[in-house]
């Protein structure tokens, strides 16, 4: 009499409404101001880098779905996010084939080879960036000077496209912009030559903290605007997508040693603010290290992980073989996550007393 088509599933029967696309979309929104600033500062070429990388990731994702005959995973937007993150960590004039190779590598080898979303050990965007840096060191370390849109040095849409499609040869008049180094690179090179921090960053290089914080400095496409990226991070914190543990610990892990060494010898070690606003520290702390799949699950584990990321970043920046260490630091800590997880499980309710 009462044969209704009733749904019989396990409890709970209500759900809070969290979803994977919800999370991915929020992160994408949080990144967009920083990305837009990148386009503003470096010109149209940066926009093409973003578009090509995101497209490469999404096409690869769909292809892998097709090959594994699975339903499309494009709607979860994780591939688009990986593409955006990767693009933001690339130089703003990266040639198209660098973007495509990176996107392909990130999705295929960085994610699906492990079994797809949720199974990968390394942050796909970062592992792809590391792969690109090792494979194409020249392209990955060519830093154009800022040439803001609607300014005198700005290149046109067509020039930007040419730059990306056929390399610097496509727009020879923009070549002179490609010569100098990022602040972190400048600091390491000059220090190697026996100069002090003040000499390295002052003089003709004229490092200026305020313009660095707003994003007017050389560096990867999306990592330069410390202020907008921080705002994006705060948005994610507010929405509860990320918690303070990883970004807080990572910033502390990098800035604390920076402060100590700076205090000990300010001629050799730049101040913590310099470390904060240059390079990818903020992008890494709020958006890369917090990648859920590749970070620990418990708050204690997340703090350990964040501290490790920060500390390794500082060590690589100061003594390592590369001027920037954020990607390497996070990728190394990614590998330690299973171990961290195992030893940072919360103490179960009532457990302490049960031993008696």
């Amino acid at each position: 009499m009462s044969k209704l088509p009733l749904l019989v599933t396990s409890s709970p029967h209500v759900h809070g409404g969290n979803s994977i696309p919800g999370i991915m979309n929020a992160v994408i929104w949080a990144l967009l101001p920083g990305a837009a600033m990148g386009v503003m500062v470096f010109g149209w070429s940066a926009l093409f880098v973003i578009l090509i990388t995101v497209a490469a990731c999404m096409v690869t994702e769909r292809l892998v779905n097709a090959i594994r005959s699975r339903p499309s995973t494009l709607p979860d937007n994780s591939a688009a996010l990986t593409g955006l993150l990767l693009a933001m960590s690339l130089p703003p004039n990266s040639p198209w084939w660098v973007c495509v190779t990176g996107g392909f590598f990130a999705i295929l080898l960085g994610k699906h080879l492990y079994g797809g979303l949720g199974y990968n050990m390394f942050n796909p965007a970062l592992i792809a960036r590391v792969f690109l840096l090792i494979s194409f060191p020249v392209q990955l370390t060519s830093w154009p000077s800022p040439s803001p849109l609607m300014s005198g040095q700005a290149h046109s849409l067509a020039e930007g496209l040419a730059l990306i499609l056929s390399g610097p040869a496509g727009a020879p008049e923009l070549l002179d912009a490609l010569s100098s180094a990022t602040p972190l690179g400048q600091y390491r090179t000059e220090l190697g030559l026996g100069h002090t921090v003040a000499e390295a960053l002052g003089g003709t290089y004229a490092f200026d903290l305020l313009s660095a914080a707003t994003g007017m400095l050389k560096g990867s496409l999306g990592e330069t605007s410390a202020i907008l990226l921080t705002l994006g991070g705060l948005y994610l914190l507010r929405k509860g997508i990320i918690t303070w543990h990883i970004p807080g610990a990572m910033l502390a892990g990098c800035l604390a040693p920076a402060a100590i060494f700076w205090y000990l010898d300010p001629t050799k070690y730049p101040d913590p603010l310099f470390h904060l606003v240059t390079g990818g520290l903020i992008l890494g702390a709020f958006f890369m290290a917090t990648d859920m799949v590749t970070s620990p699950i418990s708050p204690v584990g997340q703090i350990v992980f964040g501290l490790g990321c920060g500390l390794l970043t500082y060590v690589i920046r100061t003594w390592g073989g590369y001027p920037e260490g954020v990607s390497f630091a996070i990728v190394i800590m990614n590998a330690a996550v299973p171990l961290i997880d195992q030893y940072s499980r919360p103490v179960v309710y009532g457990a302490q007393k049960s031993k008696a």
Partner: protein
């Protein structure tokens, strides 16, 4: 040393789902006409099932025992009304397995006549606590919050640790449900009366009634009632799920944690539901067993939500019909709350002692999305009130890594569903936990069985060995005796050395029996250890 009662503490994690209490909050408790048939299951509690003590065709009176308790941790079953036992059959029941259960089918005679022998206690507070407990046991009272643990057991203070405080659980933290809130608003005096007997049974003087602050009416009513009774304090708690879970309530109110694998009594606290207090009062004052309970019938799929007081054994369909039937488009009917309740596929399932609600959920109220991969977001870890790592537990259960389930404390999980509520991938975590617990229990049974067979076969081997050794010994003895006879027949006095040479075999025999003898104690020890 004393307990610091405070509403300022919090438990770890937790969530605050949309309450939906407004659907039935204002519905006063109402009775229903007697249904045509009641299906009273013989197993409605945690513990041993009952043995039927009536035969088909027998006439019974309201409150007459129809199922005898199957042990100490068990509770008898009574006829919810007077009538005839039509049959004792397997009938669909509210059990996760979807299996049937042995039920008494009772056709009411319409008189609703109490059994004349049912009498309350005179001056119960002057009686021995054990007499109070016996009365409660005989009334078949179990935890009415849903846990259905026999109440007389939980009213027995442990020998080693006196009870410091009795917590009366009126938190009702599950969304939708309002039956406890209505009970407190309407029957506050009866509840406080019941509490007095519970305090007496527990031989303690302090009681805290804990109510979430989304029930101002209940708080007000209970506070007023408590003023007239010494020892009872009312505590308003901020809303948070699963605050009404025993361990969380204790943590919030007393700041103590129940040891993992232990009981609340171990830390001097006992928790009972408000409905249980009311049932205790009925049993003590009037000798009336637990025959009815209040059920919240609600959800957006119900035409007219209500709080119904119904006889145990009433089919869910009857309740729904009473409330105007299901609206079209109902996706799910749940027995219990939305977080821990059971989805029904058959509405002939009867209401049992632990049924607090019947929810008819529309598509927009319930989960329907397919399960995705775990993205290790850690949401579940953050909200688990027992500080477990649900994602790791689910992963291990899913991959049958039973040996590793202990490392992640699966057995501590109370299946509150908080983790699954926040999972962005809609992973049915609780489903995996149930499976894991089930698999572990099966594994344990299997191990016990093999250990038993092993010990049996070892014992048999030992016996055989011992018998064999005994035979050899006898043979040897016989041989020796024969030899001695022969020698005696030879009439020559034997040299001492020869006699000695024949002794070793004799010594050998008990030595052979020894390993056999030592096997049995070792096996016995093996049986005890796991």
């Amino acid at each position: 040393m004393g307990i610091m009662i405070s509403a300022l503490r919090r438990f770890h994690g937790g969530v605050h789902p949309k309450e939906y209490k407004e659907l039935s909050r204002h519905c006063a408790i109402e009775g229903i006409p007697l249904p045509e048939r009641l299906y009273v299951p013989f197993h409605q509690h945690i513990g041993a099932p009952c043995d039927p003590c009536v035969a088909p065709g027998e006439k019974v009176l309201k409150g007459q025992m129809i199922g005898r308790a199957g042990g100490y941790v068990s509770a008898p079953i009574h006829a919810p009304t007077s009538g005839t036992i039509e049959a004792i059959v397997e009938h669909v029941a509210g059990h996760p397995s979807g299996l049937t259960m042995l039920c008494a089918v009772l056709v009411p005679d319409g008189n609703d006549q109490w059994h004349p022998d049912l009498k309350g206690l005179v001056d119960p507070l002057d009686l021995e606590p054990q007499e109070i407990r016996d009365k409660i046991r005989d009334a078949g009272i179990v935890g009415l919050g849903g846990a259905t643990f026999p109440s007389h057991v939980k009213l027995t203070p442990s020998k080693t640790r006196p009870v410091e405080v009795l917590l009366i659980n009126g938190a009702e933290c599950e969304p939708y449900l309002t039956c406890d809130a209505r009970l407190m608003e309407e029957r506050f005096a009866e509840i406080t009366d019941g509490i007095r007997y519970m305090l007496h049974a527990l031989q303690t003087t302090q009681c805290v009634v804990c109510i979430e602050d989304n029930k101002p009416g209940a708080i007000q009513a209970m506070t007023k009632a408590a003023k007239e009774t010494r020892n009872i304090q009312v505590l308003a708690l901020p809303v948070m799920y699963p605050q009404g879970a025993e361990k969380q309530l204790i943590e919030v109110v007393t700041g103590r944690q129940v040891p993992s694998g232990g009981l609340p009594g171990d830390i001097g606290v006992i928790v009972h539901n408000v409905g249980t207090a009311l049932a205790v009062r009925e049993a003590i004052r009037f000798g009336r067993p637990l025959t009815h309970r209040v059920v919240t019938v609600t959800g957006q799929g119900i035409a007219r939500p209500a709080n119904l007081e119904v006889p145990i054994g009433t089919p869910v369909q009857t309740l729904i019909d009473r409330c105007g039937g299901l609206k079209s488009g109902v996706k799910k009917v749940v027995m219990g709350g939305p977080m821990m309740g059971l989805a029904l596929n058959d509405l002939q399932v009867p209401v049992v002692k632990g049924t607090s609600g019947i929810l008819a959920l529309m598509a927009n109220e319930t989960v329907q999305k397919p399960e995705g991969p775990c993205i290790r977001c850690g949401n579940c870890v953050r909200v688990c009130p027992l500080k477990l790592t649900p994602c790791e537990m689910a992963w291990r259960a899913r991959h049958d890594l039973l040996d590793q389930l202990g490392d992640v404390h699966l057995q501590d999980c109370c299946e509150c569903g908080t983790c699954a509520y926040v999972c962005p991938s809609n992973i049915p975590l609780v489903h995996y936990f149930r499976y894991g617990k089930f698999a572990l229990a099966a594994q344990k049974r299997e191990k016990e069985k093999t250990a038993l067979t092993k010990s049996r076969s070892a014992a048999k081997e030992a016996r055989v060995a011992a018998e064999k050794a005994e035979k050899e010994r006898k043979k040897e003895e016989m041989r020796l005796a024969m030899e001695a006879k022969k020698k005696a027949a030879a009439a020559a006095p034997a040299p001492a050395g020869e006699n000695q040479a024949t002794t070793p075999p004799e010594e050998h025999a008990p030595a052979a029996a020894r390993p056999g003898g030592s096997v049995a104690p070792r096996v016995a020890r093996e049986k005890n250890t796991p």
